[in-house]
Symmetry: C3
Subunit: 428 residues, 3 copies
Amino acid sequence: MLRRELNELLTQTGPGTPMGELFRQYWIPALLAEELPEDDCAPVRVKILSERLIAFRDSHGRYGLMDEFCAHRGASLWFGRNEEGGLRCSYHGWKYDVTGQCVEVPSEPENSTFCANVKLTSYPLVRIGDILWTHLGDPARRPEPPEYEFIHVSPEQVYTSKRWQESNWLQALEGGIDSSHVTWLHSGALKSDPLFKGARGNQYNVNDLKPFFEVAEADGGLFVGARRNAEDGNYYWRITPWIMPSFTLVPPRGDHPVHGHFWVPIDDENCWVYTWDYHPTRPLTGAERSAMMAGFGVHSENIPGTYRPVQNKDNDYLMDREAQRRGEHYSGVKGIAIQDASLQESMGPVVDRTKERLVPADSGIIKARQKLRKAALALRDAGTTPPGVDPAHHRVRSAAVVLPREESFLEACADAVRATAGVPHATI
Amino acid sequence: MLRRELNELLTQTGPGTPMGELFRQYWIPALLAEELPEDDCAPVRVKILSERLIAFRDSHGRYGLMDEFCAHRGASLWFGRNEEGGLRCSYHGWKYDVTGQCVEVPSEPENSTFCANVKLTSYPLVRIGDILWTHLGDPARRPEPPEYEFIHVSPEQVYTSKRWQESNWLQALEGGIDSSHVTWLHSGALKSDPLFKGARGNQYNVNDLKPFFEVAEADGGLFVGARRNAEDGNYYWRITPWIMPSFTLVPPRGDHPVHGHFWVPIDDENCWVYTWDYHPTRPLTGAERSAMMAGFGVHSENIPGTYRPVQNKDNDYLMDREAQRRGEHYSGVKGIAIQDASLQESMGPVVDRTKERLVPADSGIIKARQKLRKAALALRDAGTTPPGVDPAHHRVRSAAVVLPREESFLEACADAVRATAGVPHATI
Amino acid sequence: MLRRELNELLTQTGPGTPMGELFRQYWIPALLAEELPEDDCAPVRVKILSERLIAFRDSHGRYGLMDEFCAHRGASLWFGRNEEGGLRCSYHGWKYDVTGQCVEVPSEPENSTFCANVKLTSYPLVRIGDILWTHLGDPARRPEPPEYEFIHVSPEQVYTSKRWQESNWLQALEGGIDSSHVTWLHSGALKSDPLFKGARGNQYNVNDLKPFFEVAEADGGLFVGARRNAEDGNYYWRITPWIMPSFTLVPPRGDHPVHGHFWVPIDDENCWVYTWDYHPTRPLTGAERSAMMAGFGVHSENIPGTYRPVQNKDNDYLMDREAQRRGEHYSGVKGIAIQDASLQESMGPVVDRTKERLVPADSGIIKARQKLRKAALALRDAGTTPPGVDPAHHRVRSAAVVLPREESFLEACADAVRATAGVPHATI
């Protein structure tokens, strides 16, 4: 249970809020690279951390992310012409380059210096992997680019998607570091989803309904270890890393690719869920890639031309009571991503945490909130750089292993939770 | 005309409001019985008196009505599995029985007593007649179950429906105790509706456009008498009982079944209108039942799978100016229920009663408001049980009679307005 | 850039606001005459200056504009019966004449004087030209009827339409007196629109991208002169009159009809755009009229049965990136009216003028705001009648002329900007 003030502190990420400033310390996903597929393509409206921005890719392949609205009279640059090295407002022809600098005001005389003094707020936009990353904070504090493993493997090894979620980012993240719901909500998928089924470890998930949680510190966040009984006095450990502010990896299953998420606040009542599958040591198969595109695994099938899932709040996620009754989908909702989305959105746009009752199985959530709160206040009060900003913190992996009961999961897995190129991941 | 403060007092029914507390003294309809048709069927989201609840029927036929949201992290129990004697949250498997008591938290150790201390706010849910009734107030003050006649006749004698109305409950109720609008708004229906037409009394409705109103006290509310001229120095009296908080019966017409309503606040801008037709002494005919299902009489044709009328605010109630011009429907809107809904909703979600101008024909409305106000304040200030709580108050009937001018309607109809099993109703 | 307080002063037009009172000094369009096509036709809901009204035309051809809601209990008179010289509420039969006077309360006794004391707020509604005009202010200050030329030419010479715009009125008006955007936003239309193309003057529009603006006082508002270079040391002048509060005329092109607009606030986030084409000295051709009906020129194609454009905010105005790329439509949006609407609406419901950066080309906008502010405050503080109220101020014209460099546009065009019946307009 949280006090109301603390719930607001953790969930509000607009400019000037403590958690908003925290998010502005990090490189975060702004778009998928596919959204700006070629030079001079259509600009894209982007809202993140409650700021309304326009993203574009100029004639020379440079990416720009800046205020959506023209400095002149406030018309949206979404109607602009992306041509000849800049984005030109359709209203009066004012033109901006990718840094937000105004480079032409046609009504001004030839020798005018007016436009040199006009600059839109702008942010860097950098492609690494399938994602265009941005940093909305003070350039003087801008860290080195992100080093998450999934954006540095070769393109054949990874598939990335995104979906719009109609809830605050924090309840989405909390679902991501909460390994205990898999047994219930996703129990059908463990048996049938082509990107989940067949792993030896799945039986432990299904057989032990009372996982024990142990949470360990990571340089950039936490390692949440979920321990279940295995045979012969062993434990089955599933280790979920969370790197601040909102990066997680799902523990692997057999030789399946590893799933991961990055939650990015759109505003306080909506977020983007960036989702990927990657395999550290081999290309994805055609079958895997097709399954991901079709919304299996942790991906979603979206309404064409949008990133809104076909199954959404307005259609009750196409909940099917018969499928629920048959046990095909535990909640009646199809697909792991939408199973999560449906329950997280059902809590309301911002869940009222003054009413919750947490249990030991929620220890990952509890510790993550404490870490977020501490980091946001240390930043606000002392300017302290929070965990996870340093790209070295990004090089983590999830793991799923069977260990003798007496072993500490983190000591035993010290290598397993470190991302090392070319080294297979620890999975069962 | 009401002062703004009084308008708010009478229209606001959320937890803690005086009128909300008044409503919480009564058994009120929560659902139609048809909404929970069998054991272990799908749970149903219910919002009443601004509380968001979930209703379900367990494996043993017990009904439950409780907080919609799981005590753990706030996920909606609408996604829950209704099985094995309880409703289990799909997120982490927490399970509740029909009293809201948590009976299982799977992540807890075998011997844990944790869940014994977890209980959702819950309310009784009892089937009487076609309706599932609830009482949202203090259990210590819970009255005996309701005794309205329509829920105690045999099933063949009654048909019950409901519809969503997009307005505050009070302006809906006021339409129900306002007999004077029938002559105007429903004049077409008096001639053509299969559940209205043909009664001898209808001619008096049509011929005397200036009814005189006399309002008498009832134990549980009021009897609103509308007097119109009949032949030979007689009066045609239509007597509408209103039992607090929001039960009314339309005066009968010939041998047609008797119509009735119960208005239940959803929140301050929406209400449920429960509607029934019953005949005190005979089964409904097949033709009558078909007409009710088709939206004749005071019923509505609803969008399949919902309780929203096909004719609604978003389509201007399918108003037909030609039909209005021809006199087929006085306001151009088809159907008595939707004629009422359209005008009541046109007043706005909560009508501004500081602007109204009431006339003697509104004396029923005026007296009902006085009674509601007095009862709400007496409850708040002195804990006084309001009229209509005692089930003996429920056993009333409407009546339509022709009386000599000198007779007092209430004295003459003392028997007629009392519900007595097996005795025909007083109708002309 | 405006201070926030000043932005609110200029954009808010509800009852009691300074700008609202200013608007209430003028005759303004309430409806198109086509909306009340015959005696006893359907009444029409009208919202202007944040007041919800009902307009109707009685059995004797008289027009009425009054409170939408019945004085009795607040039901909408839109459901009323328009018959026998008045509008009768469908709920209880209260009847009103076109002055808002209640003429019958059926429930009252024969000799009752009650209804004589019931009168709805009402406003005059007068047909002049294709428009029904109203005046929402103090009757004692009501000016003589409007004398704009387009409503006094013969019906063959004019075509009038309207559309709903989802923005505050002021940013719409500002688009109308901003001649400099034509070169950019409407550049495609200059070449292809049947109501724009082919005029000799168009080449100057296209060739000189740096118009110079000179703004001169008019009795009723301003003349905004936009000067572009022509051949042989001459200037091409386009003169846009703005008559307060929100009437403008587009400068003519060759023998094309003259376009004009009147912006009327619906509420603070929406406005009606009344639009006309008229030719001072000849009937419109069939081809011209057809083009206007199809949404060419400054008209829009509306959703049948409504005044909402087919291309609107909800469908991104059917923006076509390929058409933008080909240069067919500069912003990718088709049609001059919708090109304007799309950009003006993209600024948000009320653009935040604290963030704008105006330039010399915006001098018309700057001066208009100053005049509006000054007039609103003089009215509030000293009761001063604002410019544009006197119908003599209405008799202006736009003009497009080529003048020697040394001539003052206003002196040279003194006759050209005066509306004189039978005299051709000054155009090139």
